[in-house]
């Protein structure tokens, strides 16, 4: 009798335990937050801040892992082959999650990841060298039309953020300009500052001070509305060319991760981005919050992937 009672109790407890496992016990060990780029860039800086404040919202520590290589592809490929348990998440961006798996032969597919949450985004701001022979978008287009392939601009990497911004501009305006890939945003902006190239497109946090200091001329920003810290810079739509291109930073998990876990993390990131310490740090690094939950982020991704596919079909890249 005692044994049966014991078993019954055990069964009840066991059931309770099982239901708790499903709903609450994730995460029961630390989550790896994988940054696919080298330390020091804006990605690893954001990752450092996110993982510092995450424990309070996840109930487990979040470990920042830097796994650089192949322009982000190494980390993405590795995660795509890992376990779909939610214990490793990718700190992704549009190039490694929307563009490159579509247009390059990579060891992972475009649908290898499911969206968890977007943390924020920034547009690209087209800028010209201080001594460039044009001051605004109309002037730039006119110059490029009169001098095909003579407008040399600084690009980052093939299929990189700046690369795509200029491909959009060239396609929408029917111009020919010559891009040189300098292998990253740092060297690319150095070349336009030195007057070795004529134009560049980069994040507001990078080009903002140069615009204010007059060392670069602002052309337009690839957003739907003006950037709050650069109120004098028109959007590209206002300046006459319909380009919207966002560099988002977002968290993705391997496809096949249980939905409740994705939802749990999506909600946790939603609370994390309102954390006081998080906001203070994100402000100090001149960034901001643009949170989207898993569903809204998913819609954005689908739209972006379709747009980029059309762009590359049109340019034959």
């Amino acid at each position: 009798m005692r044994i049966i009672k014991g078993l019954a109790l055990g069964a009840i407890l066991g059931t309770l335990g099982a239901s708790a496992t499903l709903a609450e016990e994730f995460p029961e060990k630390p989550i790896r937050f994988v940054t696919p780029y080298p330390p020091g860039g804006s990605h690893s800086l954001h990752a450092g801040i996110i993982t510092t404040v995450a424990e309070a919202y996840f109930g487990q520590p979040m470990i920042s892992v830097i796994r650089a290589g192949g322009g982000g592809v190494v980390a993405a490929a590795e995660l795509a082959q890992g376990d779909a348990d939610g214990y490793s998440v990718l700190f992704g961006d549009p190039t490694i999650n929307s563009l490159r798996p579509q247009v390059e032969d990579l060891p992972y597919d475009i649908d290898a990841f499911v969206p968890v949450a977007r943390i924020n985004y920034s547009p690209a701001v087209f800028v010209a060298a201080a001594d460039a022979p044009f001051d605004d978008l109309d002037g730039m287009i006119a110059y490029a039309k009169e001098n095909p392939d003579k407008l040399i601009y600084s690009s980052d990497n093939k299929n990189g953020f700046t690369y795509v911004a200029f491909e959009m501009l060239k396609l929408k305006t029917g111009t020919q300009m010559k891009g040189i890939e300098f292998g990253g945003g740092g060297p690319a902006i150095a070349q336009v500052l030195g007057g070795n190239t004529m134009a560049y497109a980069g994040a507001p946090s990078v080009v903002g001070d140069h615009i204010e200091a007059g060392t670069l001329k602002a052309i337009c920003a690839t957003d739907l509305e003006r950037w709050e810290k650069l109120p004098d810079v028109p959007t590209c739509q206002e300046a006459g060319v319909d380009i919207v291109w966002h560099f988002w930073r977002g968290v993705l998990a391997r496809a096949g991760t249980p939905e409740d876990r994705v939802q749990m993390m999506s909600d946790a990131f939603g609370k994390l981005v309102e954390d006081e310490g998080f906001l203070r740090l994100i402000n100090t690094i001149n960034s901001r919050v643009g949170y989207l939950d898993a569903e809204a982020f998913g819609e954005l991704l689908a739209r972006e992937q379709k747009d980029l596919k059309e762009l590359y079909d049109a340019i034959g890249g």
Binding site: P38, P39, G40, G41, S44, L45, G48, I49, T51, T52, S64, V65, I66, R67, A68, G69, G70, G71, V73, V74, A77, E78, Q81, R100, E104, D105, P107, I152, N157, K158, N159, K178, I180, E181, F182, G183, G186, P187, I189, A190, Q191, L193, G194, G195, N196, V206, D209, H210, E212, A213, T215, G277, L281, T284, I285, N286
Partner: protein, 499 residues
Amino acid sequence: MLDLIAQGLALVMTPLSIGAAVLGLAAGIVVGALPGLTATMAVAVLSPFTFFLDATIGIPFLLGIYKGAIYGGSIPAIVINTPGTAAAAATALDGHELARKGQGRRALEMSLYASVIADMLATMVLIFVAAPLATVALKFSSPEFTMLFLFSLTMVSAVSGDSLTKGLISTALGIGLAIIGLEPMTGQMRYTFGMPDLMGGISLIPLLIGMFALSEILLQAERGAPAIDAVGQQRNERGASWLDVKGSMRTILRSSGVGVVLGALPGLGAEISCWISYGLARRGSKKPEEFGKGSIEGVAAAEAGNNAVCPAALIPMLVFGIPGDTITAVLLGAFMAQGLLPGPLLFTKSGDIVYGLFVLLILTNILLLIFGYFAIRHLRKITLVPSGILYPLVTVMCFAGAYAVNSSIFDLVIMVCGGFAGYLMRKTDVPIPPLVIAVLLAPGLESALRQSLVFSDNSLSIFVSRPISGAIVLLLVTVLSWMAFQTLRKRARARTAEE
């Protein structure tokens, strides 16, 4: 400017700031001295901890680590011939030879003095001419970088061993390894055989640890006895004398100049500067035949060359917000997290913090001198540790360090293969540094060359028609002809002696 310096002084001359700097220096020297742990890694790992600290504590701490680690790299290079970083490889050439002759303390002290003097000079350049120098540095574009890369590769091939042919073989092997991975301009895969691990290329740090440290350990294991009979020597070993420093002053000045110019160029760093400095010092020395066989001047050249880069690398970072190398990239992140936003408006927006930073740079340098002087006395004793304990410990550090870079098992494979390859190279007298430096520089050389050709519509004339690029070509040709002349003269002399 004076009042800004006063404000800067007031900001950082507090016990807490100085304490943080000392702590950082100590941690940095340890990290730098351990093979496999790099300055970049130390700053990257520790910078999140400074997010919640006050800037006057966090920044001195990080600067301390930075400087300590760069200096610390020279200690194992001299003492046990296992450079902790690529930048310390040139120091090992002469430093370890000196240690084997029982002059380890002299080499260590020379390395410290040369580092501190070069660092001080470069800091002065940073304080007084940062903005104009940065503007000049921006005029360097792809053609100039192509020639600088070529110049560095030539130097390292020519000066790191006895035979130019073997140096060139080593360089060629390194370039071959560097081709593996994503191609820099169009992102095509090269020699990756579909393996994701190879897409990022052969990781430099695991390869470096294997080639420099593991191969030395293998060699020691084979010998069975320590290379240096340390116990007998340590008693009355003399340090670097005033004459040593005075005799090398010209070299230190020249190396500091090289280091400042290269450091101010975004993308080039200490690894290049130490070799160009070393090569130029050998060319300018009264006793070039001593180089590679225990020249105190060689130690001074290499160390002044790599340390002058540190303050100079802050120039593009502070003035334009463009990091000069990987470690300044990490520092840039840490500075931003402290609310210090490097860029064109930094000096106007937060002048007091900038000058506080300058004061800190000088302060950490003085502290390094004091700290290093006392540390050397004890660090030399590393060689007293029985090889049976020391080398297994270093081996563990090698594995840990190689894994820590990218958290990748494949990197351990690279490290071990590098170790055995390095062992074979040491056995056949093929110098290792050209291979490692070529792996480091070849991607940059390829990108710069191809960028230049896009600029010029595939015309090679761009390399001589631009003034700065043309000047570097001229310098390269001069140095090469001087070397050829030396070799011919040596041969002629040998022939006369035979007859």
